[in-house]
Symmetry: C2
Subunit: 195 residues, 2 copies
DNA sequence: GTCTATAAGATGATAGAC
DNA sequence: GTCTATCATCTTATAGAC
């Protein structure tokens, strides 16, 4: 008796395409038909991997959060100082925006949150909380080392940095300008440098 | 012979409802059916006022930009100093977010810009350009008066302030937190104050 | 200005064959 | 795992009566 052993290749490809489509067009503007066309299979086959669109959304967000955690772990593991960590963090966003003005997945979903299946909205919330926590640690370490300067709590500063990066993506995209994002990211990081 | 004299009441109500729905749910997540239900009329009647959804979008954005210009004009006309002007500007965004975590209309549309009819996307771009220009003037005036301090160009600072407010809305909404927006807005304005 | 009626197309989803 | 076939529903839009 053979045991079903899905290699998950199609499943991953579905998630890859879904992620790109959501970051470009949004959750409400991509369809199973879009995925099927790109994959060269039928929509019924997508439903085999993800019974509902909400299931797909949750699976995508879980993978995304895990990947993002890995990226943050990789940054923190480096022997760099906290200022470099912040720069590498911002570079993650810049890399995304450079790819055809794509937004952060959770930035896009946050805008659409009122229309999302509840479990998907919950994943978005967790993304922001985790990211804010990580950034707060880096900022606090930087302050302790005398490399980073800011008023108020590290948490509030972390949230603000996140807001700047998310907002810079939105504004640069709305203005349809290719380089405004990196300009804002660089300028804001410069403000955090201790004199 | 009587001349048709549309009072525009229904037309305006359509735009009112459409604006609220877009700021809450997005352009791709509201339908003529939603409008018809709230108004107590049929979708065909909406099409009488706006032949296509793109027409509705353009009309909404034109009205919105005009209203926003009027608000900015009202702020600039006050005898306040530039710092107060910035605070009143931020208050416009806070008022919006206080209303059921609504986003800035153009912040929401900016996220969806890849899926919007071209004329609608053009209006979004104009909104950001106009707003950036107005903010840059206020910032420059504040700097001349020694009340506002910043590095770089007034344009870049204006863009950054806009990004902070848009991003703060997105992050606060994604975290489903009611007061994070005002916290970030207040903190960022404090940074602009000259010592 | 609003209605009924209608249309064509998209969408999320399921049943059952292969 | 993928297919065909089918479904109910939603969506934008038009024609023509009132």
């Amino acid at each position: 008796m053979t045991i079903a052993k899905p290699n998950g290749r199609t499943r991953d490809r579905i998630l890859d395409i879904a992620q790109r489509l959501i970051q470009s067009r949004g959750y409400n503007a991509f369809s199973f038909s879009d995925l099927a066309k790109e994959l060269g299979i039928r929509t019924a086959s997508i439903h085999y991997h993800f019974p509902t669109k909400a299931d797909l959304g949750v699976a995508l967000l879980r993978r995304y959060r895990q990947n993002f955690r890995d990226e943050l772990g990789g940054i923190a593991a480096r022997a760099d100082n906290p200022l470099r960590h912040l720069a590498r963090f911002a570079a993650l966003f810049e890399r995304t925006f450079s790819a055809d003005n794509q937004l952060c997945l959770c930035g896009m979903l946050s805008a659409e949150v009122a229309t999302l299946p509840k479990p998907v909205a919950g994943e978005v919330e967790r993304f922001f909380e985790e990211t804010e926590r990580w950034l707060a640690q880096v900022l606090a370490a930087g302050k302790s080392a005398g490399l980073v300067a800011f008023d108020g709590t590290a948490r509030a500063q972390a949230r603000m940095l996140l807001a700047v990066l998310e907002g810079a993506m939105v504004v640069a995209r709305g203005m349809r300008h290719g380089t405004h994002f990196q300009g804002m990211a660089r300028d804001y990081l410069a403000k955090l440098k201790a004199a």
